[in-house]
């Protein structure tokens, strides 16, 4: 079986992948030949062994170019000196009556440091390139005419001989092909290969080049030329930087899957799984030297080794399926791979849940996290399916898109938690507290919410199909547009619940008196025996930033990234701000009272003066002129006295209110200044210290008489 490793561009980790796969195959019992067919840029020997002296030795060994030259020499002069076999007879084979050197005779066994290796690794270089023969090698490569070789030298027949000889005894030959579009690259991919590994780096040029090659290898003409010999293609993403640029990485993965998942042969398993499992991560440690992770014992780069192992397993599976290979000598190979896969999955889970699993108990997929506190945590997209989360605290945690499928969450606290688009299907949420939780678009199908408290929760558009809501508190919950088909609502409280546009078909336990306390609209689908109530749905409520506090709770939930800061501010600053706002309100009321006193007295004086001067009420005669003037004088003097007395008080109170208002405004500004100083200090605690100092200063200044 010949496996050709091809990449459209260089530097994608092709040779590295080849050698790692070779090491693993040899370890599990296969006879592996690493063949350097990258004739113009040879150097696979650097990867084939760690020992420097062995590298020099392998470089001096004859290889592909020497074989081709010897073959041509033999054909050119069958009677010449080259026709005489030089070496053991076993190194030669009859080829149309000529003693032709077997390519395998130039394949040198590479020493292994693995004492448990069940197979062997051999190396067939590009050609002898030690100091003496380097020039000769270059000239041979430059002067080699592949079309001429095929047309005039029966090149196709020789390469068939080459292939058959190297694969004798079910050896696996791993061919390192030339990149791009070259003649001998085509020999490797089109002629020699049974399987082509297309390694692509995560950029457009590589993807398009790989796509182009995949298309070429799938043409009907090639199948004819190969006389029906099957050719499988395995696309592998290489040199993938997984630790940064999340969006770009995600886009690349999606594109790679879309482009190549369908080209993966069935024997290699599911296309998506193959592409994901064999993605070779970029690890800088391996970028500087030719270190081979498969040779390292107890490597810490398990994800890299895992990718190579997955690729190896797929190659073996394809070979077994095509009848080109026997099962590996390592009988526990499949078990090992399965264990490795399980380990990989556990590690993936661990990485996802690292935050708490590092300090807690971890038992694979079914994490036991009873009573753990995840309040205000950033847990977007977390997968806790099947986990035991009994009485866990998720208060105000961000759980958008999280998965809790079949999780046990009895008595869990999800107050104010952000659960939009979360999947809680078949979860056990008995007695759970979901007051004020945000669940738009969440999926709770077949979950158990018996006696759960969903008061004030926003679950618009959520799916509650077949849910047990018996004795649940749904008061003021927003269930606008929810699908409640088949739910059990026995004893559920529906005071002020918004059931506008909700689907309540086939529900059980719903009574008319309780339904009448909820709001429904014409679009609400009720069970057959129910009739829509008279109350209209107000629709989803929206927060009004103008009337809310400094930042409404809804905004804080919208921006959970700042939740820690919000908590600090809630505890330290907001009480002071509320206090100042209350003082400003009190001062304003006092001012209004004084204003009302002045205006009221003035109005009363005017009416009294008019009454004295010219009676408005009753039929008595006007007061004598002297008395009228006296009354006017008294009223004027008292008015003036009141004005003189109250005006300074009014001004003082006005100034006081302005000072309080200024302090409140400064505190409000500090609220945002604190948030805006994120990262502005080397020591994050300094930010909090500064805020506390400033609150103290502002409070003292604001309260000065």
């Amino acid at each position: 079986m010949i496996v050709t490793f091809y990449s459209y561009k260089g530097g994608v980790g092709r040779s590295m992948a080849l050698v790692n796969v070779g090491e693993i195959l040899a370890d599990i019992g296969y006879d592996v030949v690493l063949c350097d067919f990258d004739l113009e840029a040879p150097g696979l020997e650097q990867y084939a062994t760690d020992a420097r002296e062995d590298v020099a030795s392998l470089r001096a060994q004859r290889g592909v170019v020497d074989l081709l030259e010897e073959y041509k020499d033999l054909l050119a002069d069958p009677e010449g000196p080259g026709a005489e076999p030089a070496g053991p007879a076993s190194d030669f084979k009859d080829f149309s009556g000529l003693p032709l050197r077997r390519p395998s005779s130039y394949a040198t066994v590479v020493r292994s440091q693995n004492p448990n290796r069940l197979g062997r690794l051999r190396f067939l270089g590009a050609g002898a390139r030690d100091e003496e023969r380097a020039t000769c090698y270059s000239e041979s490569v430059r002067g080699f005419d592949w079309p001429d070789f095929y047309d005039r030298w029966a090149g196709a027949a020789y390469l068939d001989f080459f292939r058959e000889d190297l694969t004798t005894g079910q050896s696996i030959v791993l061919v390192d092909s030339r990149t791009g579009v070259t003649e001998h690259g085509g020999v490797c991919t089109h002629h020699l290969a049974d399987v082509v590994i297309l390694v692509s780096a995560p950029n457009t040029l590589n993807i398009e080049g790989t796509r182009w090659m995949a298309n070429l290898l799938a043409t009907a003409d090639l199948a004819t030329l190969r006389q029906g010999r099957p050719l499988q293609v395995l696309p592998v993403a290489g040199r993938v930087e997984t630790s940064a640029e999340v969006e770009e990485l995600d886009a690349f993965r999606k594109r790679f899957l879309a482009e190549f998942a369908a080209t993966v042969p069935p024997a290699a398993g599911n296309g998506r799984a193959f592409v994901e499992d064999t993605e070779i991560p970029y690890i800088p440690y391996f970028a500087f030297t030719e270190k081979v992770v498969a040779r390292e014992t107890n490597t810490t780069h398990r994800e890299l080794l895992s990718a190579y192992r997955s690729l190896t397993q797929s190659i073996v599976n394809v070979g077994l399926d095509a009848g080109l290979l026997d099962p590996p000598k390592a009988t526990n190979w499949a078990d090992e791979m399965q264990l490795q896969r399980a380990d990989q999955e556990r590690r993936a889970i661990f990485d996802r849940h690292r935050r708490w699993l590092e300090t807690g108990h971890e038992s694979g997929e079914r994490a036991v996290l009873r009573g753990r506190d995840f309040s205000r945590q950033e847990l977007t997209g977390v997968d806790l399916s099947g986990a035991d989360l009994t009485e866990a605290n998720f208060e105000r945690a961000n759980l958008r898109g999280a998965r809790f499928v079949e999780a046990t969450m009895t008595g869990a606290v999800l107050r104010g938690a952000q659960l939009d688009r979360a999947d809680l299907s078949a979860a056990i949420l008995k007695d759970a507290i979901l007051t004020g939780a945000i669940l738009p678009g969440a999926k709770l199908d077949a979950s158990d919410l018996k006696r759960a408290d969903l008061a004030g929760a926003d679950a618009s558009g959520a799916s509650f199909r077949g849910v047990n809501l018996a004795s649940a508190q749904l008061g003021r919950a927003n269930l606008h547009g929810c699908d409640l088909t088949g739910t059990d609502l026995t004893g559920a409280r529906l005071v002020g619940t918004d059931l506008g546009s909700a689907i309540l078909n086939a529900t059980t336990g719903l009574v008319a008196s309780e339904l009448a306390r909820a709001t429904v609209d014409d679009a609400t689908q009720l069970p057959g025996e129910m009739r829509p109530g008279a109350r209209r749905s107000p629709g989803p409520a929206t927060a009004d930033p103008a009337t809310a506090g400094v930042v409404p709770v809804s905004a804080q939930l919208d921006h959970p990234a700042l939740s820690e800061d919000f908590r600090f501010l809630d505890e330290r600053l907001v009480p002071q701000l509320s206090s100042f706002n209350a003082r400003v309100g009190a001062a304003t009321r006092s001012l209004r009272f004084l204003y009302a006193v002045v205006i009221g007295y003035a109005a009363a004086a005017v009416v009294l003066a008019a009454e004295v001067d010219h009676p408005l009420f009753g039929n008595r005669s006007p007061a004598p002129s002297g008395l009228a003037w006296a009354a006017a004088g008294v009223l004027g003097a008292s008015g003036l006295a009141i004005a003189l007395l109250l005006l300074p008080a009014y001004r003082r109170l006005g100034a006081r209110r302005a000072a309080l208002q200024r302090a409140a405004d400064r505190l409000r500004a500090e609220y945002f200044l604190f948030l805006g100083r994120i990262g502005g200090y080397g020591d994050p605690g300094q930010r909090q210290n500064i805020l506390q100092e400033r609150i103290k200063t502002i409070t003292q200044e604001g309260l000065l008489p």
Binding site: P545, L562, A602, V606, A610, R651, L673, D683
Partner: protein
Amino acid sequence: MTARQDDFLALYARYRVDRSLRENDERARRARARQAWLILSAAVLFGAAAAAEVLAAAKVAVVIGPALAVACAVAGLALIAGVVASAPDGGELTRVRDETDVALARLIGSRPGPDAGDRDVADWVRRVETVLGQADPGPDPAVPS
């Protein structure tokens, strides 16, 4: 710019800048109303007094009836109330409001971009707070270690 900073800026614009602008508008509207009240009251009071002077000079017999007396008294009180209530200068407040709005609009237009660091965001917030005149710029943050 991190998602955290982006969150913060959205929040800040919504609850700090927008709110301040709304409050500015409200204060300026009240100031204009007080100004109009003051002018109207003064015109009525002094207009009536001037008319009375003219009539007296013309030797026309003037009888201050209760209606006129009440009207004059009300106008006088209104003038006093207006003076008290309009302690801040409405025109000045409006001008400051306009300047603030222009400065804020300019600052909103120069919000930290995608390449901004934490320090840029903090500086930008401080500039906005300075424009709003409601917070001291405070000490310069120490250079992050």
